[in-house]
């Protein structure tokens, strides 16, 4: 059984209007999904709830048919999810390889194994020659690909990306999108929030979020 949201409603503070309204959705496995929708429609909130970064005000998140409790969220987030954010978050003074190893080390992987996996992930996103360089010497697109490498190195079951190309130019967007879609490990479900219809079009399925509800199909 895959990742499932069941009657999820979320409000930012009591009395505020709900961003998500009783949303239920079963995310198919081993495919790439783009979530599109107007600004403020709750795309990032949806991603944060699905990725167990945020607990919904109401409703539940289920993985493999089991409801995820608050106590389990941290452990499952570490074990099953990989993240790529719109803003590039790296340890800027550290080497590219150190950054790519981070998710693995956080999971308790031995350093040698983590380094080997990180080198493989960097090669997948086209940064195989950059391992020794400091992260702050990379361009914006290279940094975003580093973030993808960090996320996929741990072979997550769910790879969540929040507007990963939002701050990139056209050519770089193409490279980053390809790295995300084609570079993700086999069996990994990609859930990507994007405003870019060209990016969304490259995914297996596009999901539209509007008025707090998710539907299959739609335009960015």
């Amino acid at each position: 059984m895959p990742l499932e949201l069941r009657t999820v409603t979320h409000r930012y503070g009591p009395g505020s209007p709900p961003v998500l309204r009783g949303l239920s959705f079963v995310f198919p496995e081993d495919c790439s999904l783009a979530v599109v929708g107007p600004s403020g429609s709750g795309k990032t909130t949806l991603l944060a709830i699905a990725g167990l970064l945020l607990a919904p005000s109401e409703g539940e998140v289920r993985i493999d048919g089991k409801e995820v409790s608050r106590g389990q969220a941290g452990e499952l987030r570490t074990r099953l999810f990989g993240w790529v954010f719109q803003t590039v978050n790296v340890l800027s003074g550290r080497s590219v390889e150190d950054n790519a190893m981070l998710s693995l080390l956080a999971r308790g992987t031995r350093e040698e194994d983590a380094r080997a996996a990180a080198q493989g992930a960097l090669a997948t996103v086209g940064l195989g020659e950059f391992g020794e360089r400091r992260a702050n010497s990379l361009s914006g697109g290279e940094l975003q690909r580093l973030c993808i490498a960090r996320a996929v190195a741990a072979k997550p079951r769910f790879l969540l990306a929040d507007e990963p190309t939002g701050q990139l130019d056209g050519a770089t967007t193409e490279r980053v999108t390809r790295a995300l879609i084609e570079g993700r490990p086999k069996g990994t479900t990609l859930l990507m929030v994007t405003h870019d219809p060209l990016v969304a079009a490259q995914c297996d399925l596009t999901l539209a979020l509007q008025d707090g509800q998710l539907s299959i199909g739609g335009m960015a």
Partner: protein, 360 residues
């Protein structure tokens, strides 16, 4: 399923060394705080221990017991005080008298028979003690005036020549009479005075108990301090206890931990990243504890090093006691800072991870 301890320690170390500007700024700021604390402690410790030493040297803990006149057992009881706890040295002075030297007619000097302990009270540095008989110790003033030294011969008032076996700086603690010739007598018979030097902590009690040692029946004895004290007399022990920095180390620890917390606040997107990749807050705190250990350790070493160097250049090399006191104060501050700093680091990254990651 979290960080292996070795990997976490390596991560912390790399975070410290790959941010040289942040690390060196933090180390210097913390070193300034520790340095202030250490400098104050060293200054006070030096000043007070210096005063204490000069106070002891000048006889600050010496008392004089005056037995009842003609008490035949007073010499023995005086010398027996050497066996009492808290007594550094005690010795009796028999009735001194004025004499003149054969070799220098007209030069009057004070001659006295003393027990061996009295020589140790009057000049603690005196090594050679005369065996008695025709061996004598001369005071420093007389020795300088007459050109006497150890091995010289002295002919006091028509007697057989006596060998000078020691030159004692008796004037330091007995400055009333400048020229002394002393001979050691056995502790028997009546004495004029009993000089007793106490350890600083035993002085007050010893002084109070001293008259009872020489009181026989109704015959009262008295004791008095060699240096009289009044409200203007300094008390190094109470000054040390009331030094302001004694209670200042928690403040220093708070400032150091606060600096660490402040840098964690500026690093919250970086720390949020650790959380986002699945690092539990407990592991994050452990990582910050290792970082704090390295930074605080460097700062403490740097501060202590330059504070000691400056102190040595300005005053004198601190002794082990002073160094121990200083390191205990600074070490307490460092340990408290090490306990608090990682907690502050984790507190600044509480809340939504997504919000932390936005913050760059």
């Amino acid at each position: 399923m979290s960080w292996r301890p070795r990997a976490l320690a390596r991560e912390a170390w790399l975070n410290v060394v790959t941010s040289p500007w942040r690390t060196s700024g933090l180390v210097l700021a913390m070193a300034a705080i520790f340095g202030g604390l250490v400098g104050l402690e060293l200054g006070d410790a030096n000043e007070l221990t210096g005063f204490q030493e000069s106070f002891v040297r000048s006889g600050g803990y010496v008392a004089l017991g005056i037995p009842a006149e003609g008490d035949p057992g007073s010499a023995a009881r005086c010398e027996a005080l050497n066996d009492q706890p808290g007594v550094v040295a005690a010795g009796a002075v028999f009735a001194p008298e004025l004499e003149t030297l054969e070799t220098a007619p007209g030069v009057l000097f004070q001659r006295a028979a003393v027990t061996e302990g009295a020589l140790r009270v009057w000049d603690p540095r005196l090594r050679t003690v005369p065996a008695g008989g025709r061996e004598m110790v001369v005071g420093l003033a007389l020795a300088r005036e007459m050109g006497l030294r150890v091995g010289s011969w002295l002919i006091p008032g028509g007697e057989e020549p006596a060998l000078v076996t020691g030159v004692a700086d008796v004037e330091r603690r007995n400055p009333q009479v400048a020229r002394w010739v002393l001979e050691v007598a056995p502790p028997a018979g009546a004495i004029e005075q009993c000089w007793v030097e106490f350890e600083p902590g035993a002085y007050e009690g010893g002084l109070a108990a001293l008259p009872a040692v020489f009181t026989i029946g109704d015959e009262g004895a008295v004791a008095r301090p060699y240096i009289r004290r009044d409200e203007f007399t300094r008390d190094p022990a109470s000054e040390w206890e009331s030094r302001p920095q004694k209670d200042g180390w928690p403040l220093a620890a708070g400032l150091v931990a606060g600096l660490f917390g402040l840098t964690a606040w500026f690093r919250r997107s970086e720390l949020g990243l650790y959380l986002a990749v699945g690092t539990p807050r407990s592991s994050l705190m452990a990582m910050l504890a290792v970082e704090a250990l390295v930074v605080v350790g460097f700062a403490l070493a740097l501060a202590t090093g330059y504070a000691f160097a400056i102190d040595e250049a300005l005053r004198h090399a601190p002794g082990w006691d002073e160094a121990g006191i200083v390191l205990r104060t600074a070490g307490s501050a460092a340990l408290l800072a090490l306990a608090v700093a990682p907690v502050l680091g984790v507190l600044v990254v509480r809340g939504s991870i997504a919000e932390l990651l936005k913050d760059r």
